[in-house]
């Protein structure tokens, strides 16, 4: 199966280990990958800030970059959800609406692709310890995917999932919200961090680096010893169980 990697700007800028893990897992599962180098960012930072025209060109760049792809897979429910929003944004546009629909139909979040397209739930990963999983709002509400991370984590050898209180409350990231309304965002991150700490988990796992950067940034600032891992890094803990965790 041919898969185009959608790296996302946070992975490009700060978390290369997440991108590496995603590629390694997909290739281990038999996918052939490519990386269309003309990809940019999904356009969400400007779109959510109200800069519509500035965002449209980014979205068009993405439609062009992935035009030849069979499947587009990214390590972020939020960024992939932006692809799913774009047909609505380009509604009525004679050139781009159909291309936006085409991109939407072939785009999957990483865990979603493994479970729903490849039909795999056990990737042969192993990680010893107790983990809290943060479900990102955009992945669960906008993309509508609530199951696949749990199906995969259930099959990670040695990993115990701890129930997280108020799991469906936002962590306070919200992209530009976190810097435009930093005081409110901090309160939300604090409550989320406290819920994570209360689980007694060794690891905090999510499928969105934005949320992890936010909760992780607060955990690290308050000197909490919880290792923050993207789910791709967890699923890549196969050959070497102490590997991963480049994000904390």
């Amino acid at each position: 199966m041919k898969v185009s990697i959608f790296s996302t700007c946070l992975v490009d800028l700060m978390f290369p280990g997440v991108g590496r893990s995603m590629v390694e897992v997909l290739e281990r599962l038999g996918c052939e990958t490519d990386f269309p180098a003309s990809q940019v960012c999904c356009g969400q930072p400007t779109y959510n800030s109200g800069y519509l025209e500035e965002s449209k060109q980014a979205m068009i760049n993405m439609m062009v970059a992935f035009e030849q792809s069979d499947y587009v897979v990214g390590p972020s429910g939020s960024c992939v959800a932006m692809f799913h929003e774009s047909p609505h944004i380009f509604k009525g546009d004679p050139t781009w609406e159909l291309k936006a629909i085409a991109l939407k139909n072939k785009s999957f979040e990483f865990t979603q692709f493994i479970v729903r397209v490849l039909g795999i739930t056990d990737v042969g990963a192993r990680l010893q310890g107790r983990a809290a999983y943060h479900r990102s709002c955009h992945m669960s509400r906008l993309l509508g995917e609530t199951e696949t991370p749990f199906l995969l984590l259930d099959r990670v050898d040695g990993l115990e999932l701890a129930p997280l209180a108020n799991a469906d409350n936002c962590c306070g990231f919200g992209g530009t919200f976190s810097v435009k309304m930093p005081d409110i965002s901090q309160q939300m991150a604090d409550e989320k961090s406290a819920c994570v700490v209360d689980t007694g988990a060794d690891y905090l796992i999510s499928a969105d680096m934005g949320c992890l950067m936010n909760i992780g940034g607060r955990l690290s600032r308050t000197r909490q010893e919880i290792k923050v891992m993207h789910i791709a890094e967890v699923l890549n803990c196969a050959a070497d169980p102490v590997k991963g965790g480049t994000t904390s």
């Binding site: 490009d12 290369p16 180098a37 109200g50 519509l52 500035e54 709002c137 810097v179 435009k180």
Partner: protein, 475 residues
Amino acid sequence: MSLKTDNRAFGARTADGIGDAFMRGAVGSAQDSLKTRRLTAATALGDWEAWRELGQQIRQHTLANLDYYLEQMADNVERRGGHVFFARTKEEASGYILGVVKSKQARKIVKSKSMVTEEIEMNRVLLEAGCEVIESDLGEYILQEDDWDPPSHIVAPALHKNREQIRDVFAAKLNYEGDETPEHLARFARTVLREKFLEAEIGITGCNFAVANLGAINLVTNEGNGDLTAALPPTHIAVMGMERIVPTLEEMEVLDNLLCRSAVGQKLTSYITVMGPREEGDTDGPEEFHLVIVDNGRSDILASEFHEALQCIRCGACLNVCPVYRHIGGHAYGSIYPGPIGAVITPLLGGYDDYKELPYASSLCGACTDVCPVKIPLHQQLVLHRQNIVSQGRTGSVDRIQMKAVGKVLSSPALFAGTLRLANPMSTLLSKHGRIVRGPAPLSGWIGSRDLPQPVKKRDGFRDWYPHREGGGHS
């Protein structure tokens, strides 16, 4: 009270909210318990999503044919001997009500909870005319006795107060000598209010839904005060936003189900009443009935891209799940309509000059959109507001320059790749031990409370690793 509840800037209001530990505790535990109760009540109905669809269809159909149903409603009220007044503005609405009060030479007025009467500043107008106006909803009564403290929630107006604070208000203002037990407080208020109901010359209520084919109004309450307000005084004035209408009892039943379950997690509230002008053979009810239908900007909303906001049935479910409301509380919105729906409709009713921050007071997590029983795309409407604020040039110049620059970078793959390469060297001066430690706004907003990794060097980046990795790849 008017739409605006606080003249201070958004930042000051928010800081107050964040600093109010009690209020946050109260809001947090109310949200947590309502979440379970709402979910249980919604699940019990079976196929909640289909009910939401139906609710949305009913609201959209009614709004698309609003002129027809309003005319039908008015005809039926008048046929039954009631009076109908269409108010274009809040001044016309409260002016008409004052006119009725004066024509009756009335002084004593009792009212039930109604957000639209707050919006039209009715209490202020009546108080200035020398009337006594008593709020009979327990929450509103507490706020009134506390020198008209503004409501902080559209269903539970005194959500921000605890029982000790309420006891203190009653002790200071009403010589209450009991303790802070809720039953004792409620019994005390009930005794005071019962007299007010019996004395009142005019009763003023809101209207959950007007039932067009009957010329009747539907009230949904738990305390029963709405029914006493409507039935005991000789004159009943009902005030409704012009969008709060259903064709028949059949649609009312669907919406009441959605409303009660979403608002308080009950199958039905204690009192669900359909009433209107008193007719021959009726054993009780007011001698005179007035219906005031308020536009006050709603026609403009109906004609705009925000028309779906008028589907709102004021259940407050979006407030009850909103993580921002949870931490700043209702007063921080500076409007009688707080929370996500408030952040959508307040700028529409009150303008961007006063309320342009509200659409940004959301992480766009979508919890509001998910829970809305009539499927208003609330988080998308907040983005629409942001688009308007940007296109009207109302954002700060720093924001504009920064976002336009980001837009430029995203518009060109070469610029984007170049920026990725430059991010590490450009951030070196701001960084220490692999973390960004200083920087201008908006960066400062982040690093004030959270660690932030420095962007990686080009040679460590994903894009450099990919083509050179073991096994190679296509790039």
